[in-house]
């Protein structure tokens, strides 16, 4: 145990040093699953139980943050900007189905929609589909020859309440099945009891297990309780090697909100200002309407600039959003709203 702890600290420090140099390379280290079950007694203070010192995150003023988000949400996006914005939103969409009842049939039909969102309109494909590991291979086959990536949730999604070894196997299998992107969940229990070292190590090791796959780190902001905690979790996830930070699993309310997205984008901005890599952002859950999607795009534009209006750096995790966007685009084209039966429900 003592040896393992030392290794963990070393990995941590090394990873952080590289992080600060702006080029994250996960160090090779194999996860040792069973030891993960060992209880860690929180000690309090700034230095966590594993000797890991979490990032020094700035405080967040809740009311002012919410006001800023609300004021950006009031941007009036009309006509050409609306059409362009909605097309952008489609290109940034991770079309998602994460249910126990998911079947190959359901996933294949969603993949077709992701690849070609509309028969009538000239639209980009969605960025990715997001499925459970068991359906990755199905999705991969269905999307052959398209630009649509396959993202898989892993790490004992959605609760993350499993030993790290299990989570890492979950990740490796999903990658073996062909996942281009992995959406992991952080251990919120560990985070809330102050064991930031465990949260960090899990992210770092998941990143390593991802290999070439991109890693999105789900903070499950709805469970973290305060904006300060969300900011700390964002900084920690970035420092530990996440390529994207993502708000929610979609299984917990509240899921993505505008203020939470704003503050996570600000965390990314501070990281980039400090010389770090470009980190992506993914609000997920709760973005259902075209209007909301445009509000998110405005927040991205006014926080990180046009460079982040790119599927490489911003994604929407959504299941119901696409059809509303299609309805709005059709309305812009024809001038009138078509009924919902004019849009395929996949």
């Amino acid at each position: 145990m003592a040896t393992r702890k030392q290794t963990s600290t070393r990995v941590t420090r090394q990873a952080r040093a590289e992080q600060r140099n702006g080029k994250h390379r996960p160090t090779s280290r194999t996860g040792t699953g069973a030891q993960e079950a060992a209880l860690v007694v929180p000690t309090g203070g700034t230095r966590g139980p594993r000797g890991y010192r979490p990032p020094k995150s700035p405080p967040i003023e809740a009311i002012a943050l919410e006001e800023r988000a609300a004021s950006i949400a009031k941007r009036s996006i009309k006509k050409a900007s609306k059409v362009e914005g909605l097309k952008l939103a489609i290109a940034m969409m991770d079309l998602t189905t994460l249910e126990g009842k998911d079947t190959p049939g359901k996933v294949v039909s969603m993949c077709r929609k992701a690849a070609r969102p509309s028969e009538r309109l000239d639209l980009p494909s969605c960025a990715a589909v997001c499925v459970y590991p068991n359906l990755v291979a199905v999705a991969k086959r269905a999307l052959e020859g398209t630009t649509v990536k396959v993202a898989s949730v892993a790490t004992a999604f959605p609760s993350g309440q499993s030993p790290l070894a299990v989570k890492l196997i979950d990740v490796r299998r999903a990658v073996d099945f062909g996942a281009d992107e992995i959406d992991m969940v952080i251990d919120r229990g560990a985070f809330l009891r102050g064991d930031y070292g465990k949260v960090f190590d899990e992210i770092a090791q998941t990143k390593e297990a991802c290999g070439a796959a991109h890693l999105k780190v789900i903070l499950e902001t709805g469970e973290l309780g305060t904006y300060d905690a969300i900011r700390l979790a964002s900084d920690l996830a970035i420092e530990a090697g996440g390529d994207f930070i993502k708000t929610s699993t979609g299984k917990v309310q509240p899921a993505a909100t505008l203020p939470v997205t704003l503050l996570m984008l600000e965390a990314i901005r501070d990281h980039v200002d400090a010389g770090g890599r470009n980190i992506g952002m993914k609000p997920a859950g709760g973005v259902r309407t075209a209007k909301q999607a445009l509000q998110y795009l405005c927040i991205v534009k006014e926080t990180l600039g046009d460079e982040w209006l790119d599927p490489d750096l911003f994604r929407f995790g959504a299941s119901a959003l696409l059809n509303d966007v299609l309805m709005q685009l059709e309305k812009e084209r024809t001038g009138s709203y078509a009924g919902e039966d004019y849009f395929s429900k996949d």
Binding site: P58, P59, I60, E61, I63, A64, L65, E67, R68, K74, R75, S76, I77, K78, K79, A80, S81, K82, E84, G85, L88, L263, E266, V272, D273, G275, N278, L297, C298, K301, E302, G305, D306, E307, L309, D310
Partner: protein, 498 residues
């Protein structure tokens, strides 16, 4: 300081960015077809619109494109006299004797009618004054209605407002208001005055008379007894006639410190009461432990809200030296996001400067700052070729002794000054002839209270700025004036305690 404070905005070092065409917001102008303005407005005296004694009218312009909007009557001392007499008659005949609960009903009615006509009023406010429609729509109008609602509620409770004292109205109030929040200032003045049982003669600002005249229409629609509210438009001379009129019991003035001083001199030795709400040079103080991103939003809101035409604007940013560079970098980037232009575009953040005169004053003070060696940081926003506009600007390397740090610019121009300790922050914040407002940004509540206790300013905001509410008293220390408007304290200037 290791900082190169002479760095300009565009030289601020940011991470290298890929070039992208970018997604832009298309123009989104507020529709104004439903707004029907008359070509010519007369004076509102004794419940009717009447032609001015002189027969003269003057033009009011749209500062965003310099176009002519309407002609407005120029009231002279005869008109002021007629208006004061009408107000006196109404005070003695109906309004002063009316039960508070009855008066309250009229005031409520005005509040509701303002809400009903809010869209139209917001558009006229933006057209006449240059402020962005999102501000007139979301700030000026709701607050104006809220002031009438608030004071309507006081009308029948005046005897309980001041423990052990009975209150009675003063009589006729002469009220002179500025051009930065034309309708809102009319509401701040009229609502408490009439709720307390006084009658008023209001003189709107020369450049922004239209919403006050629409308010006159609303007052007609609400069937207020004639003479309770009289609105006499005109320039400084008209205001002077009102101040000098022997039949006025109280003067309430919001505007420049110079004019405030002249008014105080003019009424010396008379029985007139006076409240003054004058200039400001507020300190917005940001400590190193502040929520930085929100503080930057607060700085922006503090100085660029309403083009900086705000008497309580946070025009001096006092920033702890250790975070100066971070704040300047964030602020530089943030002002690039401010959209300057057509006040009626729903996405405009910074509208038109109210008048050519004001624009010239801003240019003069900015030129002085540059020649004194302050480093200028200015948004690269494209400024419309027509109309009066000024890009959001801030200066670093500013000392307390610079003109830009001492004089009220009343424009979108911020001075950045550093401090090292809380004591130094207090000293610098109070080191001004003004004392209207202050802002404190820190994550530590104890520090907020420690600082707030030491601020010589009428309003102290903690982790926010430019927040207004009808329940909250507003007013100044030192050359920012005296008397409070808003809340229970705002009743006192319109009541005599017996």
């Amino acid at each position: 300081m290791a900082t190169d404070i002479t760095k300009k905005t565009h030289e601020t070092k940011l991470a290298p960015r890929r070039e992208r065409a970018g997604w832009t917001y298309a123009p989104s102008p507020e529709a104004k077809d439903h707004v029907r303005l008359k070509g010519r407005y007369d004076l509102f005296i004794d419940g009717k619109f009447v032609a001015p004694h002189s027969g003269k009218h003057f033009a009011t312009h749209n500062p965003a494109d310099e176009s002519h909007i309407a002609d407005v009557a120029e009231g002279d001392e005869h008109d002021v006299d007629t208006a004061v007499r009408a107000a006196r008659k109404a005070f003695e005949g109906t309004w002063g004797k009316m039960r508070g609960s009855e008066r309250g009903k009229y005031v409520y009615r005005i509040a509701r009618r303002i809400q009903e006509r809010a869209r139209e009023l917001a558009i006229v406010e933006s057209v006449d004054g240059g402020k962005p429609i999102k501000e007139s729509r979301d700030v000026d109008l709701p607050l104006a209605a809220a002031h009438f609602f608030h004071y309507a509620g006081w009308a029948d409770k005046l005897d309980y407002a001041f423990a052990g004292r009975r209150a009675r109205p003063l009589g006729v109030a002469g009220q002179i208001i500025p051009w930065n929040f034309p309708l809102l200032m009319a509401a701040w003045k009229i609502a408490p005055a009439i709720a307390c049982g006084n009658t008023v003669v209001l003189k709107p600002a020369e450049t922004t008379p239209l919403t006050a005249l629409l308010l006159a229409e609303i007052i007609q629609e609400c069937d207020l007894p004639p003479g309770v509210v009289n609105i006499v438009t005109g320039a400084g001379k008209t205001g002077g006639a009102l101040v000098d009129h022997a039949g006025v019991d109280k003067i309430a003035f919001t505007g420049s410190t110079d004019v405030g001083k002249r008014i105080q001199r003019a009424i010396a030795g008379t029985n007139k009461r006076l409240t003054l709400e004058l200039g400001g040079k507020a300190a917005n103080i940001v400590f190193a432990d502040a929520p930085i991103d929100q503080a930057v939003d607060g700085i922006v809101n503090g100085i660029y809200f309403n083009q900086g035409h705000v008497c309580c604007a946070g025009s001096r940013l006092l920033v702890e030296e250790s975070i100066h560079d971070v704040v300047v970098r964030k602020l530089s980037r943030r002002i690039e996001q401010l959209r300057v232009g057509d006040p009626l575009d729903k996405n405009t953040d910074v509208g038109a400067i109210n008048s050519k005169m004001q624009l010239e004053k801003i240019h003069e003070l900015v030129a002085a700052a540059v020649s004194e060696g302050c480093a200028i940081h200015q948004s690269s926003a494209k400024i419309p070729t027509k109309g009066y506009f000024f890009a959001p600007t801030f200066f670093t390397g500013v000392s307390q002794s610079h003109r830009i740090a001492q004089e009220e610019v009343f424009g979108p121009v911020l001075s950045v000054i550093t401090f090292r300790t809380p004591d130094e922050a207090v000293e610098k914040a109070n080191n001004t002839m003004y004392g209207l407002s202050a802002g404190i940004w820190t994550d530590k509540a104890a520090k907020v209270f420690w600082m707030a206790k030491r601020m010589r300013a009428g309003v102290v905001w903690a982790n926010t700025f430019n927040k207004f509410d009808p329940t909250s008293p507003f007013g100044g220390y030192k050359e920012s004036g005296f008397g409070r408007e808003g809340g229970r304290a705002g009743l006192a200037p319109y009541l005599e305690m017996v």
